[in-house]
Symmetry: C2
Subunit: 325 residues, 2 copies
């Protein structure tokens, strides 16, 4: 009898009514790294982006054009953008918090940007130096300018499901913020569970509320954190309700700044495992992704926050490119 | 502005058609501990069971009456059963692999037992010293004898969704095994994803297949491992398809014996968090459960495998009972 071995691929069993393909929107280089205290060399960031594209990722948030004083980790945004080749047909997105960030991104050659609003006053004050209404006004101005420059914009509504200062978040406030971004011309609208407190029923109800306001379900994305382990159940709820884009971070890179020691973004490997199991195409190669995750884990000297990566590591996948570029 | 703090409770948002209450079947003291290499003192096991009942758990698998040579960790089954007070209205279950185990359990005063069959020949050979058909014959004999003694029986079908030797598992083999257990008189039938490879569509299809064979959905339980991070999405699929009992392990206690370093059973805290978020009653107090998990983590000197426990630990919950009995 041979030795037992960890399974390397899920068995595809589709569910009627689910999409044939979805978009995996990788946020590790931006949302993951911005929460890291150890500064990662620019060359490693560039190699990470290149590996992710090579693994089949077709939507990648490469960096953020924020003032270096806000997030020193991302002070090399311009160099990263200059060095990362975005493959034909793929998206290379930069987050821009304001017009200054947009101008910097445009002059660096970025071809898609992401704008952020907060569904709560508290998060807007703590992270965006304004209030909820101010964050909407600022973001819609950015969207208008980007659209005028012919650049598509992704809109984030942060704290859509809960806030570490305020607790419960008003659904109407989320719908209002999402509607403002949509009206200003955002192509995609990502509902952000920034602190990972959403559960599946909450996700279903929020999608219905946003759709009832006239925003197409096919324009929605879910940006989920796995702080309380709920992210994949929430993806499943999203898939059942028409969402076709999901944010995740390779290796579960990142943390929750409001809960030290807790998990950060949903891990891309865990997401892709589920989607493959549902017979849904992503274009992402799970083995190439796991190799990237293992490579990054060795560089950071930290274990995986991805359960798939940890399980696959039980029978390591050969990797001939150990050294970062 | 006050400091942000991790959220301690999800916001309840029910989903239409889901049950008002479900059973959380705690397997930490049995399935969790049997995978641990460090031997846990009997007094700690007894204190663990008492804490779990005090936290509101109403279905608890206390131990297993296996030959000590198979699983030395559970050699104290008789002492544990003698020392654990099962509250009125609660279940205190012991797993029994064969008639000898059943006789020992009955003489120890156990009032509910669990029998196991394997859906695959390989797992039956490796763990039960027989083949698939032999495991069914042995289990149905145990069920008949227990029923004759007036004892309810829970039946497990191990490896229902994948096998580390054989890969994919035939759905017909699972249905056949479940039907045999059901016909012999099992009250509950737990479909076991022993290695955690199931995804949500697979779970939905398996439940439908078993129900089509005439087994009531309300008699089904899902025994899920979180090896690949899929367990809660699979619970959600189960809830949508009529399952009302879910197995989990406090603090994610346990491991996957076929994937060293990987996660073991679904963590009870993560399950209860989701169920509370769906407005589904469990009777389990999340804070008392998290305290139990923190207490056990300190004794074992190992971090939590539960994401909820890790997040709540960011703002520790006072615990006046630090010392095990």
């Amino acid at each position: 009898m041979s030795d037992p071995s960890p399974v390397r691929r899920p068995r595809p069993v589709p569910v009627e009514g689910m999409p044939a393909a979805v978009s995996v929107y990788e946020v590790g280089p931006r949302d993951g790294l911005q929460a890291e205290s150890d500064v990662i060399p620019t060359a490693v960031k560039v190699a990470l982006c290149s590996r992710l594209y090579a693994a089949g990722v077709r939507a990648l948030e490469v960096t953020s054009f924020v003032p270096p004083s806000w997030i020193p980790q991302l002070a090399d945004a311009r160099e990263v953008v200059a060095s990362v080749d975005v493959p034909d047909g793929a998206r290379g997105v930069a987050l821009v918090p304001n017009r200054r960030g947009l101008d910097d991104a445009l002059s660096a050659g970025v071809r898609e940007v992401a704008a952020v609003v907060s569904a709560t006053d508290s998060f807007a004050r703590a992270n965006l130096n304004t209030d909820r209404a101010g964050s909407i006004a600022r973001a819609t101005e950015v969207v208008a300018e980007a659209r005028a420059a012919g650049i598509p914009v992704r809109g984030y509504v942060s704290m859509s499901f809960g806030d570490p200062w305020e607790g419960a978040v008003d659904t109407a406030a989320v719908v209002d913020a999402a509607s403002a971004l949509s009206a200003s011309g955002c192509r995609t609208l990502a509902l952000g569970d920034t602190i990972g407190v959403a559960t599946a029923g909450h996700v279903e109800r929020m999608i219905d509320a946003v759709a009832a306001a006239g925003i197409s379900r096919s324009a929605l994305a879910l940006h989920l954190h796995d702080t309380y382990g709920q992210a994949l159940a929430n993806v499943y709820a999203g898939l059942r309700n028409g969402v076709v884009e999901f944010d995740s971070s390779v290796g579960g890179l990142g943390r929750c700044p409001y809960a030290p020691g807790a998990t950060g973004n949903l891990a891309t490997e865990d997401l892709v495992w589920m989607l493959e199991g549902l017979g849904i195409r992503t274009g992402v190669d799970l083995v190439a992704l796991a190799r990237t995750s293992a490579w990054l884990s060795r560089i950071r000297g930290r274990p995986y926050a991805s359960r798939v990566a940890a399980a696959l590591d039980a029978s390591p996948i050969p990797d001939r490119e150990e050294t970062p570029a």
